[in-house]
């Protein structure tokens, strides 16, 4: 399985449609402080199904929707789509390409889609769970997570080993 593309609109500071095409090897994301780099990492965590606002630096999930700026009004929806190349059939579905979409409306409804078809959150997490791609795994790391991994309390690290088991 390989990441192909990330598309989003209305997620955090990404008011306009944004697209990132992934390549083999190492992709670096660069830019000045506050331009939205960590928001991209959080968009990936979000589309993989995280239910915890804590992992996204917000208090309530609605705060991931673009909240407006000096020149723009706030938006009513956030949407992120992650496209995966599944030719090696790592994901248990019979498609060469799998796209996962998550939407959240300001009124609070959320939608999940696999290849454009509405589904439940459980369908998304079931699809990913064998690959171990749950949203808080060890494959999305930021400085705060490093502190958790190195914390003085041995039980804080236990979840890493459960993920790898």
């Amino acid at each position: 399985m390989r990441l192909k593309r990330l598309q989003m609109i209305g997620f955090k500071s990404f008011a306009d449609a944004f697209e990132l095409n992934f390549q083999e090897g190492i992709t670096a994301i660069v830019g000045p402080n506050g331009c939205g780099k960590s928001n991209v990492a959080e968009a990936v965590r979000w589309v993989l199904g995280t239910q915890s606002p804590n992992e996204l630096r917000v208090d309530r999930m609605e705060e991931v929707i673009f909240a407006g700026s000096e020149e723009r009004k706030s938006l009513g929806m956030a949407e992120v789509t992650l496209e995966l190349d599944n030719r090696d059939r790592t994901l248990p579905v019979d498609f060469d390409e799998v796209s996962i979409t998550r939407r959240l409306f300001r009124a609070g409804e959320s939608e999940y889609l696999i290849n454009g078809n509405k589904c439940r959150l459980m369908d998304v997490t079931d699809l990913l769970v064998d690959e171990g791609l749950g949203s808080n795994g060890y494959w999305i790391l930021e400085r705060a997570m490093v502190e958790t991994i190195l914390s003085n309390r041995p039980e804080d690290r236990r979840f890493l080993f459960d993920q790898a088991a």
């Binding site: 399985m1 390989r2 990441l3 500071s13 990404f14 008011a15 306009d16 944004f18 697209e19 990132l20 390549q23 083999e24 090897g25 190492i26 992709t27 670096a28 994301i29 660069v30 830019g31 000045p32 506050g34 331009c35 939205g36 780099k37 928001n39 991209v40 990492a41 990936v44 407006g68 700026s69 000096e70 020149e71 723009r72 790592t90 690959e131 171990g132 791609l133 795994g137 060890y138 494959w139 999305i140 790391l141 930021e142 400085r143 490093v146 991994i149 190195l150 003085n152 309390r153 041995p154 039980e155 804080d156 690290r157 236990r158 890493l160 080993f161 459960d162 993920q163 790898a164 088991a165």
Partner: protein, 155 residues
Amino acid sequence: ATLRFERTFEDVRGNFRELFMRLFGGGQADIVAVDAEDPLESGVRILASPRGKTLKNVSALSDGERALTAVALLFALYLVKPSPFCLLDELDAPLDDSNIDRFVDLLRSFMEKTQFIVITHNKRTMEAADILYGITMQESGVSTATTVRLEEVEA
């Protein structure tokens, strides 16, 4: 479940000891399962000592040594259960130049199995990447993509 944890633990432990020596160019490290009343909850203690120092709890290490130790543990887990992609947000910030080179070498050696996405301000890490994506906020408050050439990068 306990058996699975124990088997995984032993595999990760072997990897961690080897990767630590590779990243630190020597020294030694280990992980120890700490028995909680309930084996399903038992924790894991990390012991690490860079070259020439005595083996201590990870809290006695410097900021840079801690970040490198966390990377060694992360990749020890990867070897047991690789994930198709990995996103690292400014993990290289506390590292000095020679540790950045080792970090990048390690990423390169895992590139077969895993796509890496690295968020960084460090020019040395940028130089090692295969492709650079720029993000900017021309209009304040709104993020957009921008093309980046390494020479003009403002870290």
